[in-house]
Amino acid sequence: MDIFNAIIQVLDSTIRLSVPLLLACLAGLYSERAGIFDIGLEGKMLVGAFAGASAAAVFHSALIGLGTAILISVAFALVHGFASITHRGNQIVSGVAINFIAAGSTIILGQAWFQQGGRTPALQPGERFAAITWPGADAIKDVPIIGPIYAELISGHSILVYFAFAMVPFTWWVLFRTRFGLRMRAVGENPAAVDTAGISVAWLRYRALICTGILTGVAGAYLSMVQNGGFVKDMTAGKGYIALAALIFAKWKPVNAMFACLLFGFLDAASIRLQGSPLPLVGKVPAQFMQALPYVLTVILLAGFIGKAIPPRAGGVPYVKER
C-alpha cells in the first residue's frame, strides 16, 4: 500500500508540474504551426507570472490577476509579431530579445513597486486560484485504489489545471476541424498558397500569436498564482525551453504534446521524489541526470533516432509577398 501511495503522490505532482509545460507547449504549437518560431515562450510566461501576481495582489482578485497576465503576455506576443511578421525580422533574435526584456523588467519593476527583492507580495487565499474538491471526493477517499485516484489525482486541483487539460482536445479541434485551424496550418506550410487564396498571411499569423500569448499568460498565472503564492524572480527557470523541447518531442501535435509534457513533468516529479535514494537495477541516479533527461531525449529525437521530427515547412521564414 505504501508503494501505491507513493506512486499516487508522484503522479499527483506530475500533473501539477506538467501543467505549465502543457500550457506553454500548446502556446508554442499555435505560433509554430502558423510558421513563427517562438523562443520567447519563456519570457512571455515570466511576464505573465509577474503581471498576474502583481495585479492579484494589488486588486485582491485572482480573476483580475489572470486577466492582466493574459493581457501583458499577449502584448509581448504582439511585439514578437511586430518584429517577425510586420518587419520580417529574424524570429529567433526577436524571441531571444523578448526573453531578456522579460527577465530584466520583471525584476526591476517588481523591486520598484513592491520593494521585496524582486518578489511580489504573498497572495492571500482569495487572490489565488483555490483547489476544487470534486463531489464525493471526501466520501470515497478511503476506498482502496479508486479512492486515492479519484480524491488525489482527479479531484483537488485548481481550475487552471482542468483548463490546461481541456485545452488539449480544444486545440486539436481548432487545428483539425475548423477553418481557422486549416488556414493556420496552411500558413505554416505554404504561406504563398494561402496568400493566393486571398487570405491575409500577416493577420492569420498575428491571430496565432494572440492565441500563444493567451496560453503563455495562463501558464504564467498558474506558476505565480497556483503553484506558488506570489512571483519570485526568474520563476520560470527554463520551463519555456522544456515546453519547446516537448513541442518538438510531440511533433507539433496537441495530444502528443500532452503526453510529452506529462513525461517531462514525471521526470521532474521523480527526480524530486528520489533525491538520492537508490533505484532498483541502476543504483543511485544523480538528480542532475534526471534534470537533463528531457533535453537529452529531445536531442536524440531531433537526431532522428526515435522517429523524425519534421517542423512546419515555412517555420522561421518571414513571408515576402513579392520578390
Binding site: 518560431f37 523562443i39 511585439v79 511586430f82 518584429a83 517577425s84 518587419h87 520580417r88 525580422g89 529574424n90 524570429q91 529567433i92 533574435v93 526577436s94 531571444v96 530579445a97 523578448i98 526573453n99 531578456f100 526584456i101 522579460a102 527577465a103 530584466g104 523588467s105 525584476i107 526591476i108 519593476l109 523591486q111 520598484a112 527554463g238 525551453y241 519547446l244 523541447a245 518538438i248 544523480p286 542532475q288 541526470f289 534534470q291 537533463a292 533535453y295 537529452v296 529531445t298 536531442v299 531531433l302 537526431a303 532522428g304 521530427a309 517542423p311 515576402v320 520578390r323
Partner: protein, 379 residues
C-alpha cells in the same frame, strides 16, 4: 536571405542605421527608468562616470569587455555561416571545465606562462567539442541548430552542477566550486596599461586575456575576410544552394564554423576563471554567452564592431554596478533589459527605420541610393 531593400551608402548602412537602432533601444530603456521613478539622464551620467570616471572603472569596463569580445566573436563566426549559435553560454561553461582540469593538474608545478597556452588549448578544445555535436546533428541529421544548442546549454549546466557538487569539489567544502588555483594558474594583470595614462588603480581583474581577445578579433577578421575557408563560410551563409553548386561541402563548413565558434566561446572562460576568480564555480558564465548575441548583432558581425560593442556592454556592466549603488531602485538587472532592447532593435527590428532613411536619402540625393530618378519606389 535576400533583403527586399534598395542600397544605401556604406556609411549610412554601417554607421547611421546601427546608431539610430541603438538610440531607440536606449530611449526605450530611458522610459523604463522613468517608470521606476528615477531620472534617466542622471542615470546615464552615473553610468558613464562609473565606467570611465576612474582608472579602476576603466579597468573593470575592459575586463567585462574582454569576456564579451570572446562571446561576441563566437556568435558572429557562426552567424557568418547563417548558423544561430545560442549555445555560446554552454560552450563557455564547458570550456571552464577544460581550464579547471588543466589548472588543477598543473598549478603546483608549472608557471603561468606554460599553463596559459595549455589552458587556451583545453578551453577551446572543450568549447569546440560542445559545439561539434549540435553541428554534426545539423549537418548530418538536419536537426535545427538553435534548438540543439539550447538543449546543450541545459545539458552543460547539469553536467557542470553534477561535477561541481561532486567530483570537482574539494573534500570538506560546502561551496559548489573547485578549490582555488595556486599562483601558477593566475594570469598577470594589465593594470599598468591604464596606469600609463596616469590613472590610479586599486584592484581590478583586467588581465592579459584582454590582449588575447584582441588577437582573436584580428584572427577572426583574417579568417572571415582573408581566407578561402572564410569565403566559403560567407558563401554558405548567403546561399546554401550557391555554396552547394560551387562544390563546397556543407558538412565541413557547418562543422568547422561551429567548432571555431565553440572554441572562441570556450576561451571566454579564461578571463573570469584564470584572470579573476581563480576557481571554477557554478554559473560563472552568468549570461555572458547571451550578451554575445547582442554584441555580435550590434557590431554587425565585424570584429571591429564587436570590440566596440563589447566595450559598450562592458561599460553598461561596470556602470550598472555603480548605478545600482547610487539609485537603489535600479539594480544591475537594468542591463538585462537594455541587452534585450538592443537585441530587439539592432537585431530583429534592424530594418524598421530603413525605408524612412532610404526615402530621405532618395529625396536629398537620388544617386546615393543608386536610383536615376526619384519615383517613390525606394522600398
Amino acid at each position: 536571405m535576400s533583403t527586399p531593400y534598395a542600397k544605401l551608402p556604406a556609411w549610412a548602412d554601417y554607421g547611421l542605421i546601427p546608431l539610430i537602432n541603438l538610440s531607440v533601444a536606449f530611449i526605450v530603456a530611458g522610459f523604463v527608468v522613468m517608470l521606476v521613478g528615477e531620472n534617466p539622464f542622471r542615470a546615464a551620467v552615473i553610468l558613464v562616470e562609473g565606467a570611465f570616471g576612474k582608472g579602476t572603472g576603466v579597468a573593470f569596463t575592459l575586463f567585462y569587455a574582454t569576456t564579451f569580445i570572446f562571446t561576441g566573436l563566437s556568435v558572429a563566426v557562426a552567424a557568418h555561416c547563417s548558423l544561430f549559435n545560442i549555445g555560446t553560454e554552454g560552450q563557455a561553461y564547458i570550456g571552464g571545465l577544460g581550464i579547471a582540469l588543466v589548472c588543477l593538474s598543473f598549478d603546483s608545478v608549472l608557471p603561468w606562462w606554460v599553463i596559459f597556452p595549455i589552458a587556451i588549448v583545453a578551453a577551446s578544445a572543450f568549447g569546440a567539442l560542445w559545439g561539434l555535436i549540435p553541428a554534426y546533428l545539423q549537418a548530418k541529421r538536419g536537426s535545427h541548430i538553435v534548438i540543439t544548442t539550447i538543449m546543450f546549454n541545459f545539458i552543460a549546466a547539469s553536467v557542470m552542477v553534477y561535477l561541481l557538487v561532486g567530483p570537482l569539489k574539494p573534500a570538506g567544502s560546502q561551496a559548489p566550486q573547485t578549490r582555488n588555483f595556486l599562483a601558477g594558474a593566475e594570469l598577470p594583470k594589465l593594470n599598468w596599461m591604464i596606469e600609463l595614462f596616469g590613472a590610479k588603480i586599486r584592484s581590478a581583474p583586467l588581465n592579459i586575456c584582454f590582449l588575447l581577445a584582441l588577437v582573436m578579433a584580428f584572427l577572426v577578421w583574417l579568417l572571415i575576410w582573408r581566407t578561402k575557408l572564410g569565403y566559403e563560410m560567407r558563401t554558405y551563409g548567403h546561399s546554401s544552394k550557391a555554396a552547394r553548386y560551387a562544390g563546397i561541402s556543407e558538412t565541413r563548413i557547418i562543422i568547422t564554423a561551429m567548432m571555431v565558434s565553440g572554441a572562441l566561446a570556450g576561451m571566454m572562460a579564461l578571463n573570469p576563471v584564470m584572470g579573476d576568480q581563480h576557481n571554477v564555480a557554478i554559473d560563472f558564465v552568468s549570461g555572458a554567452g547571451f550578451v554575445g548575441i547582442a554584441v555580435a548583432l550590434m557590431g554587425r558581425l565585424h570584429p571591429v564592431g564587436i570590440v566596440l560593442a563589447a566595450i559598450l556592454f562592458g561599460m553598461l556592466y561596470q556602470g550598472g554596478a555603480e548605478l545600482a549603488f547610487e539609485m537603489p531602485a535600479i539594480s544591475r538587472d537594468m542591463i538585462v533589459i537594455i541587452q534585450g532592447l538592443v537585441i530587439l532593435f539592432a537585431g530583429a527590428l534592424e530594418h524598421m527605420f530603413r525605408p524612412y532613411i532610404q526615402a530621405l536619402f532618395a529625396s536629398v540625393s537620388p544617386k546615393s541610393v543608386g536610383m536615376q530618378a526619384v519615383n517613390g519606389k525606394g522600398a
